[in-house]
Symmetry: C2
Subunit: 425 residues, 2 copies
């Protein structure tokens, strides 16, 4: 008898019919004799709607109240799913983050899970019930509700899988697994059967949206096996786990990310501690910096470039205006029409020439390199946004990742996939 | 420094603008130096929408999950109101039923409040914050969320007022107070400045929708003064409290109720214990019986009539079919085209002839009496529905309740009232 944690995203629960389809899946597991814990996000666009409601009464809603409001989304969807399970003749209990024993830090809107107290869940499972837990939320020592930040339901699922020592943590979404590249751009992308935690972390860091980085880190730290799969088909997905099968492939995947802007500080005095002061101030302003590149200095001045989410530029620019004055920097330039391309693979550590090959392909596509940064298993470059799709396809071919056939299915919207699935029943 | 509990219904919170208007009211009290606790219902039609969602996945949703789902409505509106208050520069904390210490029995969907543990509320008030509490919900000893049944937010407000020893419990709604009759029917109805608990209880029992009977009972038991007033105007409302000022008037109000059906059991064997068996079985079926009338028996057989909500007829009829067979009753007749008219007033106890006067007015209007039932301070009759409005107006005049002027305002919808209020600012 295995213990399964199954997480369902908002798209998978957007309508009563989809909730009923999820209930069927869970009941099927239960009838096979498994112990089943489901983790749910809010239905459809509920979280966005609640956020808009909050802003309509207060442009800067206090974090505690905002968390309290957003948490109702998952609390509603958990109850609705439990009802749908009961309608199929299997007993089910829904539990809020509090009732499920998800203890967090007192940092509203991006709390960290500190502990899982799983007594109540185990008690309900022992009674033969399917347990449905609200994702994305927990509770502070004082008893206030917190949320875990965007994508937090993945983190809830992995934390519960760790706390319950589950055999598997299934993440159901409208993405059918982890691909060698985004199939909407690279038609011959192939779905990976397995990926290591390290490669998955680098893909997530590079901008792949399949899994939240925090949840992958948590899975690695506690040895939780994740299975990413489609909520709308029975196709095989991708296992994320200790990476032995991966050693033979050098490049695991290629990711492009158009959500970042490039910022360059010109004429920065080259003195000890300046970078620390610069990025410390930016971090204090709550802006998340991604890649950082600094060139060698000339005449005691240097240039520093970094990337940030485009959505944070409006917050960043006033901070930079001040820093330029304080630090005696010549000025800064913002470029929004850029893309980040990353090549990821644990095999790169022992395989020279991967970077050279990447630069050569990009040059052949006429793409100029603005920034380069590497880790031991990832190479990321920032380039002009034009020509990126073509470059992605060329890189995919060059690294021998092309599958034999186009993955046409992956171009379907969630609704089309569902229609297809319904037809196939 | 007074402590005020202010309850707002769903209509008063239906839009962001209305939420902001409520926030302004509360902040004004706060700035006067009062300690303020607000109790909120779910915004607008949220509860109905959630109920429909539940039914769409399960026609008979389990009560625990339904309560959990419905409770999210008040939890969302409390957070939104707290945000709106903060936007006005006053600190506010929202508390769920659990956090506010509303302990209940473990009877899902119609739980009773067993205790109020007000430590957290007092703590927040001591910090100078406006506390917003989710109405309609509480928590079982095991930690599961319960709801208190329709109109339960009134009960929450009164229970909190009792637990906190508040100076006043204000109930804001789209009804501007308690009237001598429904002003939509009787144009010359007048708003009462005061009404005793007893008279208010009888009006509520007779079908007046201003306050829930349970909340009035609770207020009477704990000596809580209730002030019913409009959420959309600053007009004076009605105080519900120990009734000394009321003694001079004989009739306090007249209520008509078209929501009931009359059921008559024909040829019931007149034996000891039969009524107990009959109404015991109906109660076990969850049907709420209102008036019961039995005539003297003839030849060992009698007729029993009673009224039930029309909405419960579909549940009642199969129960009656069985009872007719088991008890040897000849059959039953259901009449839906009926109305109940009640005349209420504590002064009736020492004032003979009130009933005779009522019957005379009804006879003059050509209205025939089907059933009569009286308590010490109420006379209720069931009549055919035709001509009831005319009869209401005649009774209002006969008991000397007519005001000097028509209350045209009371015909406005909530939106019209609000528009008027906005104009008047």
């Amino acid at each position: 008898m295995a213990l399964l944690v199954c997480k369902f995203g908002g798209t998978s629960l957007a309508t009563p019919e989809r909730v009923q389809a999820v209930a069927k899946k869970l009941v099927a597991y239960h009838r096979q004799g498994e112990r089943v814990v489901a983790v749910v996000s809010a239905m459809g666009k509920t979280t966005d709607d609640l956020l808009a409601l909050a802003k309509s009464v207060n442009p800067h809603p206090p974090a505690r109240e905002l968390d309290r409001l957003l948490a109702t989304g998952e609390q509603a969807s958990m109850a609705v799913l439990a009802m749908a399970i009961e309608a199929l003749g299997v007993h089910s209990t829904s539990l809020s983050g509090r009732q499920a024993g998800i203890m967090t830090t007192t940092v509203f809107s991006r709390a960290q899970i500190s502990e899982v107290r799983a007594d109540r869940i185990n008690e309900e499972l022992d009674c033969g019930r399917i347990v449905v837990v609200a994702g994305f939320q927990g509770i502070t020592p004082k008893g206030d509700i917190t949320t875990l930040g965007r994508g937090g339901s993945d983190t809830t699922a992995v934390a519960l899988a760790a706390g319950l020592q589950a055999d598997l943590c299934e993440i159901y979404s409208d993405v059918a697994g982890v691909y060698t590249a985004d199939p909407r751009i690279v038609q011959r992308a192939s779905k990976l059967a397995n990926i290591s935690y390290e490669d998955m972390l680098e893909l997530a860091a590079a901008g792949s949206g399949v899994l939240q980085m925090r949840s992958v880190e948590l899975a690695r730290n506690f040895g939780v096996t994740i299975y990413c799969r489609s909520a709308f088909s029975a196709d095989v997905g991708t296992y994320v786990r200790e990476g032995k099968a991966m050693e033979e492939s050098i490049v695991t995947g290629i990711v492009s990310d158009l959500s970042k802007a490039k910022v360059t500080l010109r004429g920065v005095p080259d003195r000890v501690g300046l970078a620390a002061e610069l990025f410390g101030t930016i971090a204090d302003g709550g802006v998340l910096v991604d890649m950082i590149v600094q060139n060698i200095s000339e005449f005691g001045l240097t240039d520093i470039s970094f990337t940030v989410p485009k959505s944070e530029l409006s917050r960043l620019e006033p901070i930079l205006d001040k820093l330029v004055q304080i630090l005696g920097v010549r000025g800064f330039i913002v470029a929004e029409d850029v893309a980040k391309i990353s090549v990821v693979g644990a095999g790169m550590q022992s395989s020279p020439g991967i970077a050279a090959q990447m630069f050569k392909v990009l040059a052949n596509c006429g793409v100029n390199l603005d920034m380069i940064a590497t880790s031991s298993i990832r190479i990321s470059v920032v380039v002009g946004a034009a020509g990126v799709e073509q470059a992605m396809r060329e890189l995919h071919t060059a690294y021998g990742l092309d599958s034999d056939s186009d993955f046409a299915d992956t171009h379907l919207t969630a609704a089309e996939l569902e229609a297809k699935m319904t037809k196939g029943r």
